[in-house]
């Protein structure tokens, strides 16, 4: 199966944030922390759900801020609106309502406001921690659907597979945005924007305090 081709066409590619001037200004606008923020790409319900999801993926801990401390939902919304490809947008627009639906169904609730962290944890557990065979079969299902779609067939979307892919992409985008944010990039990760020396043989602890490099 031409997995790569299919994956490219169904929007699984929007994980890595490439730094462009648009992305930089997105980060800047997220840092101003203005009170009222209106999502451009997500619906307000989706923005609320995405914020809940990334809060469980990257929670606030004693040592480091979490996704929502850094306004990453706002960044992700701007990224989807201004940077992502038309294919990614299309896939997200199709899949986000499915994620919403499956989240409510799984929690046995009717309103987003009633969703708790435990509900989101249960959702993520079902998808991100699914066993390998389940994940594989979902990719295959989604690929088969995408390939059929390319040939002009209109089959019902395999919901679990689409949701899985969407949740994966949300995680990738959140992680990428997290690492590229100013707070994480400059104060948590090892940050040396003008590297001036090369030490060939030192322990990671000594070199960076055990952290990964921010810029490489």
């Amino acid at each position: 199966m031409q997995r790569r081709t299919a994956l490219k066409n169904i929007g699984l590619s929007f994980g890595a944030v490439a730094l462009s001037s648009t992305v930089v200004s997105l980060f800047e606008s997220c840092q101003t922390g203005e009170g009222v923020w209106t999502p451009k790409f997500f619906t307000s319900q989706q923005a609320d759900l995405v914020s809940k999801i990334i809060d469980v993926i990257l929670p606030t801990t004693d040592n480091t801020p979490g996704a929502n401390d850094l306004n990453l939902t706002q960044f992700m919304d701007g990224y989807m609106a201004l940077v992502s490809s038309p294919e990614d947008k299309e896939f997200a627009k199709m899949s986000l309502p499915i994620v919403s639906k499956l989240t409510l169904e799984g929690a046995g609730k009717e309103k987003f406001s009633e969703l708790t962290n435990e509900d989101i944890d249960a959702l993520l557990n079902r998808f991100l921690r699914a066993d390998k065979a389940t994940q594989e079969s979902r990719w295959d299902t989604l690929n088969a659907w995408a390939e059929a779609k390319e040939k002009g067939e209109t089959n019902a979307v395999p919901e679990k597979a689409a949701a899985h892919s969407m949740i994966n992409s949300l995680r990738s985008l959140a992680v990428s945005a997290f690492k590229n944010s100013e707070v994480i990039g400059e104060t948590v990760l090892a940050y040396a924007p003008v590297p001036g020396e090369q030490k060939g043989c030192v322990s990671i602890e000594e070199a960076t305090g055990g952290r990964a490099w921010s810029l490489y």
Partner: protein, 165 residues
């Protein structure tokens, strides 16, 4: 992991790492490697299209095998573990050192340019890019292009002053 506090901590720390070694080698100047104009297939302005007909051959293929072995030996000797070799196929043009197609040489029958990057057949035309070099070396060619160009210009100016051009 997959998500949650431990996951967050893990993405801030260095993960596994790998090191790679690539081989670069010379493509010999084969006469069979050529560029021709196709008058049967014209472009939108009615001009002939270019047919680029070139490939790497036995020497390069053998060199690729050797480079792979040499690289693995170097890494092994340097103390690296879990070494694996690979040979992704190569097509001319992947190494973006455009050169060749207007070979430099003494004999007008077998070359286009003379030693001063001047056309054998048309003395007032100089070709000063990489076209003169039919063998793509294993290092960056731009400085050589510039050196050849400076020399060709020097020659052309002197010839102009002598009213030979």
């Amino acid at each position: 992991m997959a998500y949650g506090p431990e996951f967050k901590e893990s993405i801030l720390n260095p993960g596994g790492w790998t090191i790679g070694l690539n081989g670069f080698g010379e493509v010999l100047p084969y006469h069979e490697n050529k560029m021709t104009l196709d008058y049967d297939k014209l472009d939108q302005w009615g001009l002939p299209t270019v047919t680029f007909d070139a490939t790497i051959r036995e020497n390069e293929l053998n060199m690729r095998k050797d480079m792979q072995i040499q690289a693995m030996e170097m890494l092994d000797n340097a103390g690296f573990k879990n070494i694996s070799g690979y040979d992704n196929e190569y097509h001319l043009g992947l190494g973006i050192h455009e050169m060749g197609t207007a070979r430099m040489g003494r004999d007008p029958k077998t070359s286009v340019l003379n030693g001063n990057n001047q056309l054998h057949e048309v003395p007032n035309v100089f070709v000063t890019d990489g076209a003169a070099m039919t063998s793509s070396g294993n290092v960056n060619p731009s400085l050589t292009y510039m050196a050849l160009t400076a020399r060709a210009v020097d020659f052309a100016v002197r010839e102009l002053k002598k009213m030979n051009l």
